[in-house]
Symmetry: D2
């Protein structure tokens, strides 16, 4: 980790007007320490910060990126990182997130440490997703949490033939299918009945959504497999969605191919919290 | 039960070409016994039966209706019955259904009994569903299995404020919400984690689909309550679907009102099977 | 409801020393109003109250019984009521219970109302449970929450043949079987994957514990059925437990017979809370 | 893999009289090929085979061990292997097992291949389990499927403080806790709501049994962690059970320490089946 930090990108949850005072404070605090803050247009707009950058440029120019908001905002920022590995500091504005575990109170002490060259990083791996039609690749994505194949509101159950490293697993008849990293195990997959998986585990979770066959329980496979899901239903309104934020329409026989990506997301962690504590708080264990 | 049966409506699963021989046989068998078979256009088309009727007329003219197909076909027929209470005989073409428990082998012996005035009826109650916008009622339906509020494929979780007999239950944040009769408990609700409910129980099941809060478990309430669900999410692609066969688009603040209907569906039961046996077979208990 | 209340039984959670000040206060408050407090030995011991009664006598002599503690304490008191229908007021000492929804703050205002002849009652029905060996009845109980057939710690799965109103349901191969009232649906049955059932619903829940066949989902039947469970496993350490508080050892072929009891438990409800609010608080919905 | 096989241990499911003809046949078949069959007393007793060996000696003397029976029998044999790594061939007597996937029909062709030096091995890792009281180690085991901490039939919920690599995870309040390998994920853990985990995944599953807090969902951690579970409940009838076959009583504050073992179990696989096919058959997917 290079530790001469000169530029810190700041990206806030959109339309989050109460982020204003925090941002102003933060900008002053950084400038006092000779650090240049960079903001995207939307964030800059909250405090009349001039010379904002385009979002992708922030990822390219910043030494670290501070995200102010919830897990959704952090995930949208993670899509800008590509192979750069820029560390991300997730600061929540009130309610603890799995990826944004740092509170406003903890932010400045943690920034002090970071500027002093002491930061601890939690590296999260990601999944590469390709959508194929025949022998054409139609689209390509990288996800931190999950890729979901999902039927539309009126559509009936869809059929999804699933193959792992060339071996037939099952043809799911369900509302959809979630393919999730351990990082995503506490997001959508959990709502669909999937297990919690510590992000250090090398595994991918395949969780069907409302499967017709109720023994189609979530299945966990190695992280280094290739998962191919082929839509076996005609004439339906079906989408593949990426981290719940982007979507691509699927046709009959389209194939979604998922495998571990070379890109990683590097989260700056709070020294005061570990994964299990965040888990206990979020799921209200032992309250 | 009036037992002079003169006309039997026959409705087959659409595009089920292997129903042809069964239909021809059945028509001959009925005519030999002085019973007039009535068919809708699609069923008639499978065997060149002349003078077909419109589907709604079949319900009006038949003493009983024989459905050849699966549960989906029977449910589509149930929508034609209205308040008439015409008994329905569900005959499956191969795979046992919860509503179509009679096999082809059992069909003729059972028809003999029915014509001899001996039939046992399993009465299933239904739910009336109204869609309201402001003080306008936009649509009205009756369902045998379930009414489902469902988000589209790309939409994120939707918010559904749910009130029971004027008392606030919860605002579900989920992919959707299933409101089901006991008859529907073994259909979609089961896939969403709901319990199996014997159709004799006077109860309605409310099962959220992939709820964000995982303690939002299915809840069972009395059959005589009024359930009001208000969509609290803007700008989304949301539908209310009726027995999985019809849909109506919902807007922000639209309300879906559900209560027990005065209409019942009268299923003719096999003398050889009871509810628990069908359950064991369908769910492969004790195999 | 007879409303001249002269004697109030008070039963506190055992060994709950912090109940002392509350009890002293309560005794003074009642005496000032001409009401005679009655206590069992354990409760009396917390404040040196003289002339305590035996627990069963409290139920016989009191006009209402105030329970200070959690749901477990209230359930143990409910076993004393028999057919008398003595109203019970459940006051929790800190953490809200499904049956003890009244807080210490609410206690005195509510007692004022009760003494003024205004109390609202929530009537909960119960289950009669008989243990039969051959044609002998070995034991008889009444439960408010649930009757559970349970294997010992080392025993492997047990087989439980289950018959409803003379019709075979299933032979469960599981760790145990929970037969629960709607009142008990939020207790042990919920932990085993059962649904939440509003206490107004006339239904009994049968929830297997860790069933070998994972399609053995909880099933809900009418409240007026007779459920017979026969232990089909030899040489095992198996118990039937009643409301989690009493147990009776079962042998091979012993039968547990469950049906609705004529006895009811009458809970005095808080005017400020309804069932759904307690549910939301206990399960932390919408937090 | 050394491939000069001279001695094959044969261990049959106990009291499985219909194994007799199979055993006689097998013995003749092996002798014709110059292979010496070894049997334990119980197996030998089924066909009057003379000079049986003690079970542990079979593991020591055999080049491979053929198990005739179900998964339970194979697991009991796996306990004899220790660090030797003797390959085990699991042949089921009728119903497919997760560990005994070879049918009688497939047995001889597979044995031919094995004798010809061609066998494919599926290596399964195991867990070492130690029971500690204060600083004494009371007992030590190795398990292939799972270690379970379990309450007795009458006992109420028990408290189990769980620590992973020195970090506090949670204090479970439940009927018990299952710590399972991926191999064990389709056994008891599945009944308790755990996910299916492909045996190639390096992970351990922690599944609470009927947890009081329903958000205590199964959690999956890395295979190389140390899991320490301390019983925090006094005066209870609690056991730790090993692969469901042995048990050791636990006292208040006893600690169960679990970590990956150096020993592996080497299963000889059928060339005609893969893991997913066994899964589909056992869970009746796509039937």
């Amino acid at each position: 980790m290079d530790n001469t930090i000169k530029k810190i990108g700041i990206i806030s949850k959109p339309r989050k007007s109460d982020a204003g005072p925090v941002l102003s404070d933060l900008v002053r605090w950084l400038k006092e320490r000779g650090i240049e803050p960079l903001m995207d247009q939307e964030t800059a707009g909250l405090i009349d910060f001039d010379s904002p950058h385009k979002r992708p440029d922030i990822a390219a120019l910043s030494d670290i990126i501070l995200v102010l908001g919830g897990d959704g905002t952090l995930i949208s920022v993670s899509r800008l990182i590509g192979s750069r590995g820029t560390p991300i500091l997730g600061v929540n504005l009130g309610s603890l997130g799995f990826l944004t575990e740092v509170t406003l109170d903890e932010m400045y002490p943690l920034l002090e440490k970071i500027l002093a060259g002491k930061m601890s990083i939690d590296e999260r791996w990601t999944l590469d997703v390709a959508v194929q039609r025949g022998d054409k690749e139609l689209a390509k994505y990288t996800v931190l949490n999950d890729v979901v194949i999902n039927k539309g509101a009126l559509a009936r159950m869809i059929l999804m033939e699933t193959v792992i490293d060339g071996r037939y697993l099952n043809t799911y008849r369900a509302d959809g299918l979630i393919i999730s990293t351990p990082t995503g195990s506490t997001a959508y997959s959990l709502s669909a009945g999937g297990p919690i998986i510590n992000p250090k585990v090398g595994a991918i979770i395949i969780s069907p959504i409302c499967p017709h066959t109720i023994t189609n329980r979530p299945i966990v496979v190695r992280e280094d497999v290739m998962i191919e899901v082929t839509l076996q239903t005609e004439n339906e309104d079906v989408l593949v969605t990426l981290d719940g934020q982007e979507g691509y329409p699927l046709q009959y026989l389209d194939k979604v191919v998922v495998k571990k990506s070379a890109n990683v997301i590097r989260l700056i962690t709070s020294p005061d919290k570990d994964y299990y504590e965040v888990l206990r708080q979020k799921l209200r264990w032992g309250v």
